[in-house]
Point group: C2
Chain length 111, copies 2
């Protein structure tokens, strides 16, 4: 983890979960938001396959391991206060379990 | 709040904070990630100005209120499990307090 800025590695090493946004590296479409702990972040960096921490299953979750809809990481960014991560990914298939490409497919009606 | 899907309004009404991604509505650049509670979400919908809940200050925070860098909301989406929000915004000035356009300007070196 030597390459990682100390602020974000400190947060992860303290056991914090950090929000991770997956974005299509070509179209910039936002695909989903999930969570990372230290283990999932390290796996993502090493394997270049998006790997999250499932809060509902309380377990490591390589995106696509059951669906085949893997996310191949092209780049990883983190934000100015080191509490959010942005993954630029090549999305295999679709991101959402509903079959939609993006999980953000519900529009709020603005009056 | 009648227009809002019951799942996300239920989460907000229970006092939950929900992650909100701000994305440039034209370029799709991801600008920042912040948090919303029921009050900030309602204000955002009513005013069409991005309004978050500051976890550090424990207070409502209309983006740009001190910097002038407002975010004019063009559309709001929420995700398939209703625990994340995506704002499509017209960003006035820059999003990041550092002067960068996006808060996600730190690149993780992949080996």
């Amino acid at each position: 983890m030597a390459e990682i800025a100390s602020t974000i590695s400190q947060r992860l090493e303290s056991g914090e979960l950090i929000a991770a946004i997956a974005q299509d590296f070509e179209t910039n479409e936002v695909l989903m938001l999930a969570w990372m702990n230290l283990e999932s972040f390290s796996k993502s960096v090493e394997s270049k396959q998006a790997t999250y921490w499932s809060r509902s299953r309380d377990s490591l979750w390589r995106k696509g391991e059951s669906s085949g809809n893997f996310q191949e990481i092209q780049a990883i960014y983190y934000d100015c206060d080191s509490d959010a991560i942005l993954l630029k990914v090549k999305q295999i298939g679709v991101a959402c379990h509903t079959g939609e490409r993006s999980c953000f497919h519900n529009l709020v009606e603005l009056t």
